[in-house]
């Protein structure tokens, strides 16, 4: 939904503002409103938190390129490489926030989309991510498990990979992980 402030600034303009996608005149107008209008500043702050926070956040499922970028910037991480039906205990690095699960052994060459479902070992669903990034050639899905996930999820988690080919959806592999925070 598009919302407006008292100066008629639509949400899309604040998004363009933080994406640096406005011409100079429009950008200067919004800068003046940011400093001179309390209502505008509040709206800008909400969009700024989303834009700036999203830039700092690491998505739960990442591409091979994104993993390489994290490694390049020196993120401390442990890697846990798994094959289908494996059950593994995996530990976060001391002082690090990332535990990378490399879910391999997947036949994804014909996949249109891949979904990821998390559940407990007893089968209780936790969360489901649709249309996640995957490496078609390597047959891999990379999960960037983050220390703070421990506040929302149990230690023992089953990852279920669904492959979608046209309108046919089927589970192709499961992986069990006991997280050690």
């Amino acid at each position: 939904m598009t919302t407006t402030c008292s100066h008629g600034v639509v949400s899309e303009s604040w998004i363009d503002f933080f994406a640096r996608d406005l011409d100079e005149e429009a950008g200067r107008r919004l800068e003046q409103l940011l400093f001179g209008c309390t209502h505008c500043a509040a709206e800008a702050e909400r969009w700024g938190a989303v834009a700036g926070g999203a830039g700092m956040a690491i998505p739960p499922v990442i591409t091979t390129d994104a993993l390489r970028a994290l490694q390049d910037r020196g993120e401390l991480m442990n890697e846990n490489v798994m094959q289908p039906d494996e059950h593994r205990r995996a530990t976060f690095p001391d002082g690090g926030r990332l535990l990378i699960h490399r879910l391999r052994g997947l036949e994804l060459t014909r996949a249109d989309r891949v979904n990821l479902a998390l559940s407990t070992p007893s089968g209780a669903p936790l969360v489901r991510f649709e249309d996640v990034p995957f490496d078609r050639d390597a047959g891999e899905v990379i999960i960037a498990c983050q220390r703070h996930f421990g506040e929302s999820f149990p230690e023992k988690i089953v990852f279920e990979i669904e492959r979608c080919i046209v309108d046919q959806v089927g589970v192709v592999a499961t992986y069990g992980v006991d997280h050690v925070y």
Partner: protein
Amino acid sequence: MAAAAVEHPSNAELAGRVQAGGAEADAAETEVCRRFLQRARLYGLRHLPSVTEAEDLAQRTMEIVLTALRSGRVDDPELLDRYVLGVCRNTAHAMRRSRERTAEAARQLALESAAAVEQPSEPPWGTQVVKLLTLCLGGLSRREQSVVQLSFSEWQSSAEIAEQLAVAPGNVRVIRHRALRKLRECMDRAGATS
């Protein structure tokens, strides 16, 4: 009415209290920071290459503004908001020049520039916002995630993103608008941006 005036002093009233010093000056300085620090951060987010530098800009700006207020060097205190914006512009310009000079010196010395920009340990919007956004990002499509990451982590232009994802630049904007609205809705459901 009197109570409201005390709780929401005008910029000129705040400037006067800061310049006067004494018991009320500390509270007035705190209010100046509350009013403008976050706005300076947001300005920096638009103009500088990282959240770390945006935070640095905000801190430097507030130091300059408070110093100017204490010594009565703000010509028209009622227009304090424009003064702060001007300080932000000048400070950001100085920071960009400094970075360019450092990069040029490194180039001349044939040094490799730093591979990545350091991220602050504590995000200015609070750790909880970033934690929630991590999960909210999982609700975006692959393409939406890519546009968000390329826009706000790597600060690529719409044209650069369009080329990388093989879509029209106009579509990049549409995808970005949709993605951020989804993230904001996800955050609002969690009560994090209201």
